[in-house]
């Protein structure tokens, strides 16, 4: 089961080998009420403690594979299913220090049945979340 919030408490962690972290993972629930093909998600903007990372530089880890924006746009047959977690990978060499951080995301969802001027429509969330291990 998901935590109710878009940004999950668990799964917020540094990424890469200990001592040589290459970024941060932020675990999300599906930012939509229906499962969706990855090509309908046009990337995710992230702000960590005020530092902005555009959807053009973040990636999504889903089903054990990492998709950058170009790969996401091509992924017309891969689904982010309801109930499945995925994590945004934020490239940030060294990662984050253990402690409480301010995390903000905008998941840019394209819903073809919404008017063209509302594409993509970002799903926003922000919260304090905790990195436990260095």
């Amino acid at each position: 089961m998901y935590e109710f919030q878009l940004i999950q408490s668990t799964g917020f962690r540094n990424h890469g080998p200990e001592g040589a972290r290459d970024g941060v993972e932020i675990r999300l629930r599906l930012p939509n009420y229906r499962g969706m093909r990855l090509s309908l998600l046009d990337g995710i903007d992230v702000t960590l403690d005020g530092e902005f990372f555009s959807h053009e530089v973040t990636s999504l880890i889903v089903g054990g594979r990492m998709y950058d924006l170009a790969a996401m746009r091509d992924a017309t047959t891969v689904r982010w299913a309801m109930g499945e977690h995925a994590s945004v990978f934020v490239p940030k060499p060294g990662g984050l220090l253990p402690g409480i951080h301010h995390v903000k995301v905008a998941a840019r969802v394209r819903s073809p049945y919404f008017p063209p001027h509302l594409q993509p429509l970002p799903v926003h969330a922000e919260r304090l979340a905790t990195i436990v291990l260095p």
Binding site: M1, Y2, E3, F4, R29, L30, Y33, R34, G35, M36, R37, S39, L40, D42, R73, T76, R79, A81, M82, G83, R110, S111, P112, Y113, F114, P115, P116, H117, L118, Q119, L121, V123
Partner: protein, 300 residues
Amino acid sequence: MEDRFKYGVSLYSFTEDFGSVMSIEEGFDHIADTGATGIEILGETHVTGYPTPDKAWLDRWFGLLDRTGLEPTNMCSWVDTKLRLGQSLSVDEGAAELVRDLTLAHQLGFKFLRPKFGVISADLVPDPIWAPAVERVLDLAHKLDIVICPEIHSPTPINHPVVHGYIDFIERTGTKNFALLIDTGIFQDRPLKSWVHEVPEGDSDHAKLINGMKVNPEELVGIAPYIAFIQAKFHHIDDNLHDENIPWEKVIPVLKRIGYTGYLSSEYEGVREPWVAIDQVRRQHVLLRRLEAACDAVPA
């Protein structure tokens, strides 16, 4: 008995619950306990492993139908015409999406399929592939005994070129496997008090969506022969059993008058909080059953 409505609930009502505080088992239990006989789902939301659930999930599905006595009513689906950036689906591809969902709906026992097509304009005109794509799968729908139902949903009213287009299609093809689904949100005549929605403030449709389109329920009379299914959309029923937004006391008598005997399938869409919908749906069923009983009590 035979001229009564059938009562159902869509699992969509539990959008704020499903996946974080509710699994499909509880969804079935909440629906069955209202006395409803039908369950509606969203394929991409409620079918684990969509579009090809595994045997374990199918066993669970049929076990739940069996245990609760509920029948599958409508399955909602999407034809994502803008699946790719900058290139719309072809007719072939659109038809393939419909085949995928007709097949699944039939496998699960559904009698109705609501595909939501992508749109091409601010006033939500569907991608023109809808007609040839649907036409291509009408034989399959007939074979599988499924009625494909586009949803008439706010901000599209009943009297609108899009609806006329659907009716023309039915008349032209003579099909029994394409008909209208009415979302009662179009009758909303008082503003939503608490609502977070995907449409940003300042958008042209924002006021319409907040304040309601106020379609006159009498307009149902003109399209009566084409109505196959009703999603009983609502947003809040207060502690005095009073719906704050949808004028059921006007809608129900018209539905009785036109002889509608299909499903009223609850679609709660209210505050974004868990554990609210369960009781709201129960309230709606009391309210709808009361109004129907009052109509039935008056000699025709």
